[in-house]
């Protein structure tokens, strides 16, 4: 039962650590990187104090860390690990490798923009770079959701129909270092939802020699294995649904592959992911007060892409604006293109489907920029794949000053 007294003020990092602790994980191979480091520091303290059983070990790099994580899962223990940004892409080879082994584990990514230039602020290019790596991918909006999603992630990963790793993403700074009220479920209640781990697949043991990760020398064989992973991730839609049903029954909170916010009669819909969806909801509330029928769709599950839920939420609307906190140089916003692909065959797809890129590197998306999004959608008659960058005049003035300080004023640049 949910009660207010169970709530503590936790950062997103602390919530993630609690999720791992309640999931009774066995093994944490770790490597520090801002802004996730607090997660592993918290876990290290708990292991040290004997409050968690198993092992915590620091590896030499994120690539090694992910490889150790997958190998330990292949040997039959419940594994948790965390990284961000540079670390996630450093481990990219290992992500593909371990998902191909079809072993369950949870990897938390605390989103941070990618170098170059190097920065600490959040956006979603890091986690989206991993969207083809064969992991289920879930994005959180709040610290509560972080804790809850880590628990659900184990249920999904370990289900035989999936048997694949899960990547749980939440934004650096806006969630990682931000405290919010979080209910920490009772350990026994969690045990009922997520029993102790017992591998349902053959693991490394002397009595049953097993060769894992065999080399494959022809295309048909390779195709078989890769496509089965695709099936497994598609199965995660149904498995997530069942896990969400049970989670709600146990803990009273409901999660779907998408979250709909004030969509009922909306003619205009914003699509967002992550913590800034809260700001999107605030903008929706503002516009609703002005009499506008606007809603927001938060994309929570990125892989598998919940095409049915997206279609159900977006067809029949006049205008949809996807706000991507990521940028694929040369293309534009990544989620926009995925959603456009899902809608392409739909008869009643929105006449106006527009792409906005904002919040890169942790840049704010102000109410003025939200208003600009709505105004653009209002004024548009057709869709467009051209991304509109959300960047204000004040920010541009500031950038010009910085360029000048860096010796790059326009006068200096002209020969």
């Amino acid at each position: 039962m949910v009660t207010a007294q169970n709530q503590k003020l936790l950062t997103g990092n602390a919530a993630a650590a609690w999720g791992a602790r309640l999931a009774a994980i066995d093994y944490v191979p770790a490597f520090p990187i801002t802004p996730q480091t607090e997660i592993i520091e918290t876990l290290a303290r708990w292991f040290d104090a004997g409050e968690m059983q198993g092992k915590f070990v620091t590896l030499d790099s994120e690539h090694s860390m992910v490889m150790a994580a997958g190998a330990a899962a292949a040997a039959g223990v419940r594994v948790f690990t965390a990284t961000s940004s540079q670390g996630l892409v450093y481990a990219m080879e290992a992500l593909y490798t371990i998902s191909g082994w079809r072993v369950p584990l949870v990897l938390v990514n605390v989103s941070r923009a990618l170098a170059s230039p190097i920065t600490l602020g959040p956006d979603h290019n890091d986690v989206l770079a991993a969207r083809d790596a064969g992991f289920v991918q879930l994005h959180c909006e709040s610290c509560q959701e972080v804790l809850d999603t880590v628990l659900m992630a184990y249920r999904i990963a370990e289900d035989e129909r999936v048997s694949a790793p899960v990547l749980v993403n939440f934004d650096g700074f806006f969630l990682s270092f931000t405290r919010e009220p979080v209910e920490i479920p009772d350990a026994e209640a969690v045990r009922a939802f997520l029993p102790r781990f017992e591998a349902k697949y053959p693991t490394f043991r002397a009595s049953q020699p097993l060769a894992q990760g065999a080399a494959v020398l022809d295309g048909a064989t390779y195709t078989y294995f890769r496509y089965q992973l695709h099936h497994a991730l598609r199965n995660a839609l149904e498995v997530h649904q069942q896990a969400a049903d049970e989670f709600e029954a146990h803990f009273g909170r409901r999660y779907g592959p998408v979250e709909t916010y004030r969509l009922e009669d909306a003619d205009t819909v914003l699509v967002m992911a992550g913590a800034f969806a809260s700001k999107g909801k605030a903008a929706v509330n503002r516009w609703r007060e002005q009499g506008r029928n606007v809603g927001l769709l938060r994309l929570r599950m990125v892989r598998p892409l919940p095409d049915r839920e997206l279609v159900a939420a977006l067809v029949g609307r006049r205008a949809v604006g996807v706000i991507d906190q990521n940028l694929s140089p040369g293309l534009g916003g990544i989620l926009f293109h995925e959603i456009a692909g899902v809608l392409a065959a739909e008869e009643n797809r929105p006449a106006v489907l527009r792409s906005f890129v904002g919040g890169l590197g942790g840049k704010d998306i102000s109410s003025a920029e939200f208003d600009h999004v709505l105004a653009t959608l209002d004024g548009a008659k057709t869709g467009s794949a051209d991304p509109e960058l959300l960047f204000t005049d004040a920010e541009w003035r500031q950038m010009q000053q910085r360029l000048a300080v860096a010796g790059k004023s326009l006068e200096a640049a002209t020969p």
Binding site: D26, K55, H63, M67, A74, V77, E93, A206, S207, G213
Partner: protein, 310 residues
């Protein structure tokens, strides 16, 4: 000088059991395969081999495996990290009585020189420093063999490879010394033609906890350019000319387990190999040959000096 035998006195004393089946697609006469086979005989059963990308990756190519043991292919650089994960997981399961001791496994990292000397060094260095209880066999054929024999950090001075067509002008990285600086529980060089020496070393390492590292000269008929039948002879020349020292480091002490009473000239080892032919034809490259001989001589002089002062 030959170290006193503790466990085996002749090749016939080696354990008879086989842990690799025939039918691999590795080259006929593969020195690396010969080394792994012998090592595994002494290592015994209940092994999981954690492999890095290299020639040996072909031991398990779907749907066939040569291994009677368990096997995990990781990546080019990640084998020692994979070993960490398996070892930790087994230890957790054993501690918590979720796995019977009879199901425990020895963890053996299997990597070529390509992985060992460069890309895999980070993960291996960290594993050694953490005191990971694991075995490591580097089959050193002195190049990136599986990709067609390109220069690696293990390539010796003068060796011709596909990326050093004029002969490699650098020097072979001393991975033995790098590992030794980590103070592992056990460290040795081996050669498959010296089966008893190899077996003694594995046997000596068996009761030790911690990193047990083996560096094996893996003669490579395909890459080095000689008739596979002569593999053991070439390996023998590597040792008899002093190019490949047979040594071990255990309990903080370094010793050589075999020192030829009289070293044969290095050219006897180089000449039969196509990868060194350019040092003899069309012109004899005395400058390089002398440098190679000098480097070998200098090593053994240092060995003699250190022996004299202890």
């Amino acid at each position: 000088m030959r170290a006193k035998r503790e466990f085996y006195h002749s090749p016939k004393d080696l354990p008879a059991a086989e842990f690799l089946s025939p039918g691999s697609t590795l080259c006929a006469g593969c020195g690396g395969l010969a080394t792994l086979r012998l090592m595994h005989k002494v290592l015994g059963e209940n092994v999981v081999v954690v492999d890095a990308a290299g020639c040996m990756t072909m031991l398990t190519s779907y749907p066939y495996t040569v291994m009677q043991s368990s096997w995990l292919y990781t990546s080019m650089s990640g084998a020692s990290a994979g070993a960490q994960g398996i070892r930790d997981a087994l230890d957790i399961l054993l501690t918590q009585h979720r796995l019977p001791e009879t199901d425990n496994l020895k963890v053996l990292v299997l990597a070529g020189d390509g992985s060992t000397y460069d890309m895999g060094l980070s993960a291996t260095s960290a594993a050694i420093c953490r005191g990971l209880d694991f075995w490591y066999l580097c089959y050193d054929n002195e190049a990136y063999g599986n990709t067609g024999f390109q220069t690696s950090a293990a390539s010796p001075l003068g060796a011709q490879t596909s990326t050093s067509p004029g002969g490699f002008a650098g020097r072979k990285k001393d991975i033995f010394e790098i590992w030794r600086a980590h103070q592992p529980a056990y460290l040795a060089t081996v050669s498959a033609h010296e089966a008893v020496d190899l077996a003694e070393k594995v046997r000596r390492a068996l009761p030790l906890a911690g990193p047990k590292l083996f560096l094996g000269l893996a003669v490579c008929p395909t890459g080095w350019g000689f008739d596979p039948a002569n593999g053991f002879e070439i390996a023998k020349l590597a040792v008899e000319t002093g190019v490949w020292p047979l040594k071990e480091f255990v309990h903080g002490q370094l010793r050589h387990t075999y020192i030829p009473s009289r070293f044969r000239p290095v050219v006897e080892y180089l000449q039969p190999q196509r990868r060194f032919r350019h040092l003899f034809e069309p012109q004899r490259r005395d400058d390089v040959l002398e440098q190679i001989q000098h480097n070998v001589d200098a090593y053994w002089q240092r060995v003699a000096t250190e022996a004299a002062t202890t």
